[in-house]
């Protein structure tokens, strides 16, 4: 039974939805060129960059996944957030890779790689980025549907309708306004999302007490709730994967670097990273507190999937009126994430995979049309994949494994492209193949009955860590082999 009241909370959500979509649609008249559509004419300033990056990297799926970590592992579940915040600050402060990347004035990573490794590597990178990105994003819509169904108290048979309505609203302004609409709606969504989250978190802390919640975590999870090194379900391999993934994501995740690439100059891009880095702690700490609140409220014998503990907890403890603000804030979080992700992957498809087709010669009008068609296609894919794919294990682990498909090879290739003179196309291809093959094999083997026990034995963390190491080794070996065979071309 949910506290959501359609007469009081319903209008709050409707006003938010109508306001955001209207703003997103009004912005479309500023879009004239493909550059305006994909990188907002490279006019993004510091504060707009911060709110946009923060809003796009916090969606309902992230919130549910990270709350599940809090529910299962206590504050030890915040470890990936600490790794991400540190990685983002270090990269922003030093300008490691992102400075040369921004100075090349490219739209996507593969475009940058073409300058060093050639057209074929650009195309292959585009393909891997889209594959990893879409698989990663594929579960977002279902999580949003599940969250809203539980918090608003819908019958589960309405799940598909809820998912379709959310997607249609987001796709509408993204298709018409591109990055410009996303930036403006992200601004509104950041404020709505932050206000709702802060109110809810403070309410939960004051209602249940900070120390009692921590003690409940200690009692139910043990000392591992506060120390990932001693948590039997966490451990060193998982922490190592968190660190690898954090640096790789900060360097190459298209939705993150698109803010650097859209910034006015490389200095602004670096400042956006440095100033947004604490948000990656927020992204884990706040949901983990909600997860721990659920653990305190339900205890360890929660009936149902652990991922649903947080929304069920919120649906019963948040009062009428406030729950409307919460739903609006979570919708805000989800809309900004989905719109940014749809644009990010469509930009890679258009800019890199379709490059051999349009060869950069299409008119601005035709380019805009195809970008819009691609976003619509991604929307349809999300709907079908979200309905079809049954999530197994932790949501965050799924996001890590699918992200690794491209993060492992792209981060290795990016570092090599920026700082290793001997790197070449053979190394890049070897890294792409190694980086994609291992996590995809893991996902497929997880679904086959015969190999399920083997995947459980190895686990996703060791697989993830191995992927990064093998991709780096493949880059070095491939490059050295080519240099030995064809020293003149290198």
């Amino acid at each position: 039974m949910s506290n959501f009241n359609w007469l009081i909370d319903g209008p709050i959500v409707l006003v938010y939805l109508a306001g955001t979509i209207t703003c997103g649609l009004l912005i479309r008249r500023y879009v004239r060129k493909v550059d305006d559509f994909l990188v907002a004419g490279r006019n993004v300033n510091l504060y707009l960059g911060i709110d946009s990056l923060a809003a796009s990297e916090f969606g309902i799926a992230t919130c549910m996944g990270n709350a599940e970590l809090g529910f299962k592992y206590g504050l030890a579940g915040v470890t990936p957030g600490i790794a991400l915040a540190l990685a983002m600050f270090v990269v922003g402060y030093t300008g490691f890779c992102i400075k040369p990347l921004r100075e090349q004035k490219v739209i996507t990573l593969p475009e940058f790689f073409e300058k060093k490794f050639g057209k074929r590597v650009r195309w292959a990178c585009g393909l891997v980025i889209v594959l990893g990105g879409l698989l990663n994003m594929g579960v977002f819509l279902r999580q949003a549907g599940d969250f809203l169904s539980i918090v608003c108290g819908f019958d589960s048979s309405y799940l598909e309708v809820v998912m379709t309505v959310i997607l249609a609203g987001i796709a509408l302004y993204t298709i018409l306004g591109g990055m410009l609409s996303i930036l403006v709606t992200d601004y509104i969504q950041f404020i709505v999302m932050s206000t709702g989250l802060i109110i809810v978190i403070l309410m939960i802390i004051f209602k249940f007490g900070w120390t009692p919640m921590l003690e409940a975590a200690q009692q139910n999870i043990g000392p591992g709730a506060f120390n990932p090194f001693v948590n039997p379900q966490y451990g060193i391999d998982r922490i190592l994967l968190d660190v690898f993934l954090a640096f790789a994501a900060v360097l190459t995740w298209q939705t993150m670097i698109s803010r650097v690439l859209s910034s006015k100059n490389s200095r602004t891009g670096r400042r956006i990273y440095m100033n947004t880095s604490p948000f990656f702690l927020v992204r884990f700490v706040l949901p983990a507190i909600l997860g721990m609140g659920a653990l305190y409220y339900f205890g360890p014998d929660f009936q149902g999937k652990s991922i649903f503990a947080m929304p069920q907890f919120l649906s019963v403890v948040i009062p009428v009126g406030l729950i409307g603000i919460l739903v609006a804030s979570m919708l805000a979080a989800d809309m900004s994430t989905n719109s940014s992700y749809m644009l990010a992957w469509s930009s890679v498809i258009y800019n890199d995979i379709m490059k051999p087709v349009h060869k950069g010669r299409w008119s601005e009008k035709r380019g805009l049309f195809w970008n819009r068609v691609l976003i619509a296609c991604i929307g349809i894919f999300l709907l079908l994949y979200g309905l079809w794919y049954p999530l197994k294990g932790d949501l965050w682990v799924y996001l890590q494994v699918t992200g690794t498909i491209y993060l492992s090879s792209m981060s290795v290739i990016l570092i090599a492209a920026c700082y290793w003179n001997k790197a070449n196309s053979w190394g890049a291809f070897a890294a792409i193949i190694a980086g994609a093959l291992i996590p995809i094999s893991f996902l497929v083997m997880q679904e086959i009955e015969l190999t399920q026990s083997l995947t459980q034995k190895i686990g996703p963390y060791k697989t993830g860590v191995a992927t990064y190491l093998v991709a780096a080794f493949a880059m070095i070996a491939g490059s050295l082999i080519k240099n030995n065979f064809k020293p003149a071309s290198s």
Partner: protein, 49 residues
């Protein structure tokens, strides 16, 4: 205090979030205004050319 590190980390995170939200709410609006103004001027210039 038993959970000092985590309590400080969570407190810092929430406090940072509140402060940044207020700053970004104000300055982000100004950034949007400038962004749209720049784009409008660029479009006018291109049309004149």
């Amino acid at each position: 205090m038993k959970y000092l590190f985590w309590s400080l980390l969570c407190f810092f995170t929430i406090a940072w979030y509140i402060i940044v939200m207020l700053i970004v709410a104000y300055r982000g609006g100004i950034d949007i205004k400038h962004l749209l103004k720049d784009l409008r001027n660029e479009n006018i210039l291109e049309e004149e050319e």
